[in-house]
């Protein structure tokens, strides 16, 4: 599924990484726990999270996870966006709850890691 379609499904605002919206992503992983995100090994899903701190960006940087959707109306700070841009990430803001966002993504065909 194209990232532009994902943004549409989630009614999400793309904060950075606009040049990557034609890329495809077929898997997602949702968690607010960064240590969980660090257990994904050689999988590189889109991350759906309600944790909106510098550590979210750092964690994704360490895990080579470069597509992040913030749910529950969380807004990344300028500092977070700057680091994400340096790392070439796509960040999106979504007003929906984690449950609703994941439900819509599942319905749209995104697959889980496990």
């Amino acid at each position: 599924m194209k990232l532009s379609e994902i943004a549409k499904v989630l009614n999400a605002k793309v904060v950075c990484g606009h040049d990557r919206l034609d890329e495809e992503q077929d898997k997602a992983f949702a968690s607010d726990l960064m240590s969980d995100i660090l257990t994904l090994g050689d999988n590189f899903p889109m991350i759906v999270t309600g944790l909106c701190t510098m550590q979210t960006i750092r964690t994704c940087e360490m895990g080579n996870l470069d597509i992040v959707v913030f749910v529950r109306k969380k807004k990344p700070t300028e500092e977070m966006i700057e680091l994400a841009e340096d790392e070439g990430m796509v960040l999106m803001e979504c007003d929906y709850s984690m449950f609703k966002a994941c439900g819509l993504l599942w319905e749209a065909g995104l697959k889980p890691i496990y």
Binding site: S35, L38, T53, Q55, T59, E61, M62
Partner: protein
């Protein structure tokens, strides 16, 4: 190659900057991306531990053709029971650390899964040294 970084207690904004720098170095050295990821995931967990649980410390990395040896040396308070700390789910993290998305008791077990050799030495009142070695080929 020897690299060294200072880690400051409670500096959550910069938590991960040593890991990030070492990641860039390993990429420049054309290390296999899967191996880079294992190194930086383990190091990042250890770096967050030093910031969250300890009074800061030092991160060192020694890289040669065959391996990387990373040490995270903190200034205390030390771990009274390392076997307990190594078990998944055991944690003494503060609410602040949990709010950052850590503190679920997964750090040390996650480090162990990602490295080829792990050695944790700790003295209560003195500090903890986490030594992690990963083969680069």
């Amino acid at each position: 190659m020897h690299l060294e970084y200072t880690v400051i207690e409670g500096d959550f904004v910069n938590a991960g900057s040593a890991s990030s720098s070492i990641k860039k170095t390993l990429k420049q050295l054309n290390v296999n991306p899967s191996i880079v990821k294992r190194v930086v995931v383990a190091l990042y967990e250890a770096e967050v531990n030093a910031i969250a649980h300890a009074y800061g410390g030092v991160v060192t990395a020694d890289i040669d053709a065959g391996k990387i040896l990373v040490r995270v040396i903190d200034k205390g308070p030390g771990i009274p029971d390392i076997d307990w700390a190594m078990q998944e789910g055991n944690s003494t993290a503060s609410p602040e650390v949990r709010n950052m998305g850590f503190g679920a008791g997964m750090g040390l077990p996650n480090i162990k899964k990602n490295v080829d050799r792990l050695n944790v030495q700790s003295t209560v009142g003195v500090g903890t040294t986490v030594e992690m070695e990963v083969n680069l080929s």
